[in-house]
Subunit: 210 residues, 2 copies
């Protein structure tokens, strides 16, 4: 298909498609004349993925290039690419100065096999630190419940990873990391809003709750 | 206590404490001389909360001021303050242009009572949109599982909100929103790493898994 059709099918403006071509995120099409080129299904799929990474994941062009390179040339071990995806996509907040002792204890108590320098360990440490600093009664008790739920989600995510090809596996892992983090936070807030309405405004939600 | 002791006890540098005083995030201490003031337990608690909001939540000074104002003068209904906390703390990514039809369908299917204009609805719409654009087989099936888990967490969070005073309730809701989002994401990534090690590198994790 021509570039205009590629833009139409993916919902990405022509100017943006050209930008991705110049930046090397999207491979060049097959030249049919001095000013025209043809694009195939692989371009449609690749643009869909770039849209997810840049538009929803908020990744920079440089990071997107790294992630796409990992998809084009996946590491031997699928386990290593889970780590690579986390590292590449990590907008890990804070944690650099946090004491990791409690985070390590939690992970050890759960018997989780994780790298000593996993960025998520710093993020967990910062959150546990904050919990202590905030000194809000009742929040501590929720941490183990969250860990139970996280274990369940982690198992479900990994069980669903396709193993027919490393490229399919990377694509799955990257997409799941980028999309399911905002998805999970959005769903939790909506569920909180519903639970809050039912607990604190039972009259208003009565008909819906019946 | 003096400002130096306040800084020591909260781990916040004296210069930063003075900055929070100037910005009005922290109420002035009781003047004991032209150059000295005394601070009480309420200052220690307030500083702990500011540290959480600014240092871990990454909130701006202006947003922190809004959140603290809501704590000092909480709305009548605890349900409304859950919404206010979400709105104030929302670093909702994208979603402005996303079609909300599927997001609304999911919420309706679950029977969740949420506002039509909840920011989380836009974030959910963007994630579901991205899921469609990415076209990765197997990911769709995970969405309902995530919604189940979110419902469980939302109920647990709300059930734990203290109702002895509106101020205690706001404090709980704000802290839970700021800290449990990064906590949940960090725990999920660590659990994924563990599940991935067990599925893809069973030899390396054998002894730990036994």
């Amino acid at each position: 298909v021509r570039i205009s059709e590629l833009a139409r099918r993916t919902g990405v403006p022509v100017g943006t498609v050209k930008y991705y071509l110049r930046e090397g995120l999207l491979p060049a099409g097959e030249r049919t004349s001095a000013t025209q080129a043809q694009y195939g299904e692989e371009h449609v799929a690749r643009l869909g993925l770039i849209r997810v990474l840049v538009g929803i994941g908020g990744l920079s062009i440089a990071t997107t290039r790294d992630v796409l390179a990992a998809i084009d040339d996946p590491p031997e071990s699928i386990h290593h690419l889970v780590g690579a995806a986390h590292a590449a996509l990590s907008p890990v907040t804070g944690g650099a100065g946090a004491d990791r002792t409690r985070a390590r204890e939690l992970v050890a108590r759960r018997g989780w096999a994780v790298y000593e320098d996993a960025p998520a360990l710093g993020q967990l440490a910062a959150a546990l630190d904050g919990l202590e600093a905030a000194g809000v009664p009742g929040l501590d008790a929720l941490v183990e419940r969250y860990a139970d739920v996280a274990a369940e989600l982690g198992r479900a995510d990994v069980a669903a990873v396709p193993v027919d090809s490393p490229a399919a596996a990377v694509r799955f892992v990257v997409t799941a990391t980028v999309l399911f983090e905002p998805l999970l936070l959005a769903l939790r807030r909506l569920a909180q809003e519903d639970a809050s309405a039912r607990r604190f405004e039972p009259d208003a939600t009565g008909p819906r709750g019946s």
